[in-house]
């Protein structure tokens, strides 16, 4: 049929042939006929021909060569799938002659465009290797090339090839280690298994053992935990930094690469594939510090629900793990309870695990469970349970007696097997404390009549012999009985009879001399040579004779030496030197091709081998992209940060304006700097921002680089807040809105932190304009903050000052308003400014800085706020009493006033010990609001809602002096505490804020036309505020 032209007939024929192959029948006679069809057009015929070819090519090499040209043609096909399948079949034909062709094909395919073809090439490598191992060197080259591949499709296959061809060439992994770790989660599950087990071995050679110094571990774990917040920005650079920043101060520091591996494999515990879960579990078991191994327990317990074969393998591994790390599985004790429907092998393994897990606290429950098991119908299982009880008894001294009693009760069981097993276990237990258990031995002695199982009989005899002093009467009697039945006993029993006889002869020769002689003579003619030997040997020893005198004198010592109690231990005890989850571990024997799990190195090998040059590294290019992306985003942010800044400090001060302009020109940094109101800070700031201006571009770059790098690492340290907020400032645009809306919440979070330390740090940060990122990191690692975190930290710096008012230095004086004149105040001068910082106690309050200075000759004492007389709704949060103000001194205090969104004055009394002054603070309308950050779209949306009555529009002419961008912005923000909204067009300015008390939006738009004409629009629910604001702003702009 194969010769016909009809495809359907050919197909039918091929199907029959394949069916023959499947049944294992030989179809090799048809080879020539089949090979002809290799070029057949019909795909199914073709496929079946391939199946046939691969199966029989080895046997008919010459004929197989006929088909090669077809595949060679296929290798050049434009379709990647055809190329791949041609390579696949070609490499599957095991004909040594075509090795060069295969080699060529693999090399070509390894640099193919399509990852799928490259994957096939990776698959072909082990095939060729098994065909001709001389090609190894060339193949390693190909592997090396493919290892550098960045696609997930290839990764699994090439690591598999690596494992099969050159598992010892660990040096090939260095450069690809981080990539593999990062790709891992996206690789298909089979590849994951292979990669994980390879990485386990790799990690064992490259990192230090995490368990060698447990106490210091906590800290590291902590840090790494923060590190996990970042998603992808984990570039090579950051690791270097971290490695450099954490020098050998501590005895053990986990290599960041080590941590990377642990972190990236953890999600895979959730995989549906049992093999992957097991692979991760063994990785954690072998590599993770003790504290972290626990996470795998849950996943492993989950696998116990799976098919019984999976259970079998998992339980084997759990058994090994539970010996080493008992605590890990203790919470899951009940999951190992045995069901009557479990297959016996599973039952026994579960029993093993239960025994390993038993400890002082849970032993009662475990033993109760065991009791039910003993009554099971499955006798093998019952026997195993008795063994398990014995092991529990040896391990936990407290329950030994209970166990022993229980086992003795079992001696009356009807099932012989159970009894026998109990005897054996009892024997072992008794050995530990024989003195107290004469009764049990007697009981056992009685049982010799009934028990037939040789092992049990032997055990009883041994026991009696060993402790014949405790049962002096019964022992000879037992020997008598045994002598009677000696010939009928099993070998093992006979040996013990001889043993017993010898021991009795030595201790009680009067009664037993004849019996012993008799037994020995019986043994002398036994069929088994072991027994004959033993008899002869014993006779020589115990019966005094002429030559052996020397020995027989010591016979007692020889026979009745105290023997150490046997240790009942798990058969899984030392299995963990095999890599868990491996075949070798399961069999407890080395399988072919098993790669020994190396021990941890003493000294960590150089971690820098894993560093990769930037261009090779995919993530790096990501970072580059990110940088690009961030630039526009960044310049948006400057406008926003501008207002915050001017709110914080006085805009008119020289240094401020400097820093301000710099902020306009592009670095968002200055805003956080300006939070610091220290005098010398101001100076520093000035310097810093000047230099910034000059260095602007370069610096921005370095800073940008820094931001993604150390992400998250420094966020742990509070002292760092300043530097971190300055670096992260650029990131905080979107989230900062949130920050402004909920000032109270973040203010509460802020811990009081010392101000000095951050200040100095900041200086260092600023002064080093073109530092190289890794080396100059401050002691604590670089600040990397997620946006929300940035907001938090921002708040932190802001509130520093409010929380520690005594440290505040006076804000430069231009924005000050007089509260109390020198004359009226009799030497006490009081000024106030609106600090524009959120008030720490109540978000609805405007925070007012009050500056006192004493220009009189006498100290002023007991400065405080007296009974305020306030209009409805207005409330005051008083400042803490100032105890004393020496002549010439000045002090600052912060108070909060809730103006209730009105410009009514707050009247209150300012009291000293001697006088009371009536004062009032009337806020400008611009101070009744706080900036809000929003996007242009949001702005437009909100504006749309506030039309009509709520919109106030006014036309104005901008004077020449205030046509430049930053002056306009500065003037508006100086007048009103608003935040700038990024804006698409150049001559439009938008600002947004919320009133403090009611939180209603205030939106301000300034549309500057050419030649100075401009239109000002304010949208606000509070029409009064709107009108006043328009007036104020126009006044500010036109002046």
């Amino acid at each position: 049929m194969l010769d016909t032209n009809k495809d359907s007939l050919k197909l039918e024929a091929m199907k029959r042939i394949v069916a023959m192959i499947a049944r294992g029948k030989n179809a090799s006679d048809l080879f020539p006929a089949v090979v002809k069809n290799v070029a057949c057009k019909n795909i199914e015929v073709k496929k079946l021909v391939y199946v046939y070819l691969v199966r029989y090519a080895e046997e008919q090499q010459d004929l197989a060569l006929l088909s090669i040209s077809t595949f060679q043609r296929g290798l050049k096909d434009p379709n990647q799938l055809i190329r791949a399948s041609a390579l696949r079949v070609l490499s599957s034909i095991r004909v040594p002659i075509i090795v060069p062709i295969m080699m060529l094909a693999i090399k070509e395919a390894a640099s193919d465009m399509s990852p799928y073809v490259r994957k096939t090439a990776a698959h072909a490598i082990p095939k060729l290797y098994s065909l001709d191992s001389d090609q190894k060197d060339q193949l390693i080259e190909v592997i090396e090339k493919l290892l550098a591949d960045k696609t997930t499709l290839v990764a699994g296959s090439v690591v598999m090839a690596f494992e099969e061809v050159c598992p010892e060439r660990i040096d090939l992994i260095h450069k690809n280690y981080r990539k593999l770790c990062n790709l891992l989660i996206d690789v298909e599950e089979w590849g994951q298994v292979v990669i994980i087990s390879m990485l386990t071995r790799y990690a064992r050679t490259q990192f230090l053992s995490p368990t060698q110094n447990e106490s210091l571990l906590e800290e590291n774990a902590e840090k790494a935990f923060y590190g996990s917040e970042e998603d992808e920005a984990k570039g090579a650079g950051s690791e270097e930094t971290a490695a450099a920043a954490l020098p050998a101060r501590k005895p053990y520091i986990m290599d960041p690469d080590h941590r990377l591996l642990l972190r990236n494999t953890k999600p895979l515990l959730q995989s549906r594939s049992a093999a992957v879960v097991m692979a991760v579990a063994q990785l954690y078991f072998h590599l993770a510090p003790k504290a972290e191994v626990g996470v795998i327990a849950k996943a492993l317990v989950r696998l116990l629900r799976s098919h019984s074969e999976v259970q079998y393998v998992v339980l084997q591994n759990v058994a090994t793990m539970s010996i080493k790390r008992r605590g890990m599985f203790e919470p899951y004790l009940k999951s190992f309870y045995i069901r009557s429907t479990d297959p016996t092998q599973i039952k026994i393994l579960k029993l093993e695990v239960l025994t390993n897990l038993a400890n002082e606290t849970n032993i009662p429950t475990v033993l109760r469970e065991f009791q039910t098991y003993i009554r099971s119908m499955d006798k093998d299982f019952v026997a195993a349970t008795i063994q398990a009880i014995g092991r529990c008894a040896t391990n936990i001294g407290r329950v030994r007696d209970t166990c022993l009693n229980g086992l003795v009760q079992l001696l009356s069981n009807r099932d012989e097997l159970v009894v026998a097993e109990s005897v054996v276990v009892i024997k072992k237990l008794l050995q530990m404390q024989p003195a107290q258990h004469g009764e049990i031995i007697k009981h056992l002695a009685k049982l010799t009549d009934n028990i037939q199982v040789p092992m049990a009989r032997a055990s009883i005899l041994w026991l009696i012999g060993e402790y014949c002093e405790h049962v002096p009467r019964i022992a000879p009697d037992v020997l008598r009985k045994m002598a009677k039945s000696f010939t009928a006993e099993e070998d093992i029993v006979k040996l013990q009879v001889i043993n017993l006889a010898a021991k009795l002869y030595l201790t009680n020769s009067k009664q037993t001399k004849l019996l012993t002689q008799y037994v020995l003579s019986l043994a002398k003619y036994d069929q088994n040579y072991d027994i004959r030997d033993r008899a002869r040997f014993t006779r020589q020893l115990i019966v005094p004779s002429e030559q052996g005198g020397a020995l027989s004198r010591h016979a007692k010592k020889l026979f009745l030496a105290p023997k150490p109690a046997p240790v009942l231990e798990s058969s899984f005890k030392d299995r963990d030197h095999f890599q868990l989850g491996s075949l070798s571990h399961l069999l407890n024997a080395k399988a072919t091709g098993y790669q020994e799990l190396p021990d941890w190195p003493e000294e960590a090998p150089d971690p820098s081998v894993r560093n990769v040059e930037v261009p090779e590294w995919t993530k790096c290019s990501n970072r580059e992209k990110r940088k690009e992306k961030e630039k526009p985003f960044y310049s948006d942010s400057e406008g926003e940060s501008g207002p915050t800044e001017s709110a914080d400090s006085d805009p008119e001060s020289e240094s401020e304006s400097d820093s301000k302009s710099s902020s306009e020109s592009g670095s968002g940094e200055s805003s956080s700097e300006s939070d610091n109101e220290d005098q010398d800070e101001d100076e520093e700031k000035g310097r810093g921002s000047e230099s910034e201006q000059s260095e602007e571009d370069g610096k921005r770059k370095t800073k940008k680089k820094k931001v993604p790098e150390g992400k998250g690492e420094a966020s742990s340290s509070d002292e760092d807040s300043d530097s971190s907020s300055s670096t992260s400032e650029s990131e905080m645009t979107s989230e900062s809105e949130e920050e402004q809306l909920e000032p109270a919440s973040w203010r509460r979070k802020t811990p009081p932190s010392s101000k000095r330390a951050p200040a100095t740090k900041e200086i260092s940060l600023l002064d080093l304009e073109d530092f190289t990122p890794p080396s100059v990191q401050p002691v604590s690692p670089p600040a990397i903050v997620s946006t929300s975190l940035a907001a938090d930290l921002e708040g932190l710096t802001l509130t520093d000052s409010t929380l520690v008012p005594s440290l505040l230095s006076p804000v430069s004086c231009v924005g000050r308003q007089e509260l109390l004149h020198r004359v009226a105040g009799e030497g006490l001068v009081v000024d106030y400014t609106f600090s524009r910082q959120p008030f720490s106690g109540d978000p609805h309050m405007v925070s007012v800085h009050i500056h006192f200075s004493n220009s009189s000759d006498t100290p002023i004492k007991g400065l405080h706020v007296g009974t305020p007389k306030l209009p409805a709704g207005i409330s005051i949060q008083e400042f803490p009493e100032i105890e004393s103000l020496a002549p010439g001194e000045s002090a600052t205090a912060v108070m909060g006033i809730n103006f209730c969104d009105s410009t009514q004055a707050a009247n209150f009394q300012l009291c000293t010990q001697t006088r009371q002054f009536y004062v009032s603070i009337q806020p400008p309308v611009g101070e009744l609001m706080a900036p809000v950050f929003m996007s242009e779209n949001e702005f437009k949306k909100e504006q749309g809602k506030l039309m009509g009555m709520n919109e106030i529009t006014e036309k104005l002419m901008l004077p020449d002096t205030c046509r430049s961008d930053h002056i306009v912005v500065q003037k508006v923000t100086a007048t009103a505490n608003l935040g700038r909204v990024p804006c698409g067009t150049s001559d439009e300015y938008r600002f947004a804020g919320r009133t403090l008390t009611s939180g209603s939006l205030v939106l301000l738009t300034l549309d500057a036309r050419p030649a100075g004409a401009a239109q000002l629009t304010v949208n606000s629910e509070k029409m009064v505020i709107g009108t006043m604001l328009v007036k104020d702003v126009i006044q500010a702009l036109t002046q």
């Binding site: 499947a22 049944r23 098919h307 998992v314 999951s335 429907t341 399988a591």
Partner: protein, 418 residues
């Protein structure tokens, strides 16, 4: 890795063999047969059998042994997991996985196996991709094939293998777009003689049947995701989203698949929906024993318990049983000593009851152990853990799919010790 695969039926015939590397002789299976004999019961055959040159790893499903032959060190779970995947694929292809079906479709089986492994390393194991490569046989297609002479082998190339979502085939089209999710929970419990719970846990799965056109992106959210303690996902689920928001976000494979399996945390007390009252006693002297079981509802949240079956392996000494059920039917197999009672629905007013006597082997002593009772039941429209799906949203496609969610509680390994 995997050298060869042998399929062996329960009577010990090798009815299919497939080799991915050089041929391994059938005789290697002799070791397996030896182990099989030693194990007496099929499920007791050790999954891993070492032989002098090879290792045999086997799984037993649908009364067929799937024996993989390997030569070098491989993680055993890797092979076992793969074998199970093979069985699942067969089941997916042919509906059932049994000896006659495999024999009938030997060519398709062979083609599928060829695609699943390359040189012993798994290549394509997602059933969506395999189906694109080799179309599963249907009656219609067989008829059409015989008439037109077209083939089972997909004529378009398997593009799915190359895509970023390898589990989904491309170009899916349906006229009715539907997505069904079944939340199925199983209660595993061991109940003590006195009726108190020794251990009980809930294991749940969400099985989905998604037939949606194009490349839909689904999100599924729960009312109470905190209940889920330990979860494992189909690879399509975006792990990050789950970590951060506890939302399942995924591009589903086409057709049936298991989206998620979970474990309900052990802290939550498990409501046991049924109780079993039993009174089984053997007397030493007489050759008769009394037997009585009553099954009744307990904590069912107002739902009816259906499909109740009680099975129990009686001790060897029991010769026969004469029982009368108040409802349902019962059988006792005197050879295997297996008692099974098909109860059906439980009426809370009249709890079903099975009562009668056992005749014991004369002269034999009474068995040590009372039989364990295994229980099966189903409760529709209830997830016993209280898990509730909040909503299902679809993005990426324009049409409105039909969505359905079904809850069900079942007994898993539910045993009552007596």
């Amino acid at each position: 890795m995997i050298h060869s695969l042998f399929l062996i039926n329960s009577s010990g015939d090798i009815f299919l063999e497939k080799h991915w590397k050089s041929v391994v002789s059938r005789s290697v299976c002799d070791y397996f047969f030896e182990a099989q004999e030693r194990a007496t019961e099929a499920e007791n055959v050790p999954p891993v059998i070492p032989t002098p040159h090879h290792y045999l790893l086997s799984v037993y499903r649908h009364k067929i042994f799937f024996v993989a032959v390997i030569q070098t060190e491989v993680p055993p779970l890797f092979v076992i997991e793969f074998l199970h995947r093979v069985v699942d694929t067969f089941q997916d292809y042919f509906g059932v996985c049994s000896e006659p079906v495999i024999k009938d479709n030997v060519v398709v089986v062979y083609e599928v196996l060829e695609e699943m492994l390359d040189n012993g390393f798994p290549l394509a194991t997602e059933s969506n991709i395999l189906k694109e490569l080799i179309k599963p046989p249907t009656i219609l297609r067989t008829v059409v094939n015989t008439i037109t002479g077209s083939t089972n082998v997909g004529d378009q190339l398997p593009t799915g293998q190359l895509s970023v979502v390898p589990w989904r085939r491309t170009g899916v089209k349906y006229t009715n777009n539907e997505a069904y999710f079944d939340v199925i929970e199983e209660i595993d419990a061991i109940i003590d003689k006195s009726g108190s719970t020794i251990t009980a846990e809930i294991q749940g799965v969400i099985d989905a049947c998604v037939k949606l056109t194009g490349m839909p992106d689904l999100t599924l959210s729960f009312m109470n995701p905190r209940l889920l303690d330990d979860v494992s996902f189909h690879p399509c689920v975006r792990f990050k989203r789950w970590e951060s928001e506890r939302i399942l976000s995924f591009i589903p494979p086409d057709g049936n698949f298991r989206l998620l399996s979970y474990h309900v945390s052990a802290q939550n007390l498990v409501a046991i929906p049924v109780y079993v009252k039993h009174n089984i006693s053997f007397r030493d002297s007489s050759s008769l024993g009394r037997f009585e079981i009553t099954v009744g509802p307990k904590q069912t949240m107002g739902k009816t318990i259906e499909g109740v079956t009680v099975t129990s392996q009686m001790p060897k000494g029991v010769l026969n049983m004469s029982l009368t059920p108040s409802q349902g039917t019962h059988t006792f197999d005197p050879v295997t000593k297996m008692l099974s009672w098909d109860v059906g629905k439980i009426n809370p007013q009249k709890p079903p009851n099975l009562k009668g006597t056992m005749s014991l082997q004369a002269g034999a002593s009474k068995p040590d152990e009372n039989p364990t009772i295994n229980l099966q039941f189903k409760i529709q429209q209830l997830a016993i853990s209280g898990l509730k799906v909040n909503r299902l949203d679809m993005y990426g496609e324009k049409y409105k799919p039909f969505k359905g969610i079904k809850y069900m509680t079942k007994a898993g390994k539910f045993q009552v010790r007596t």
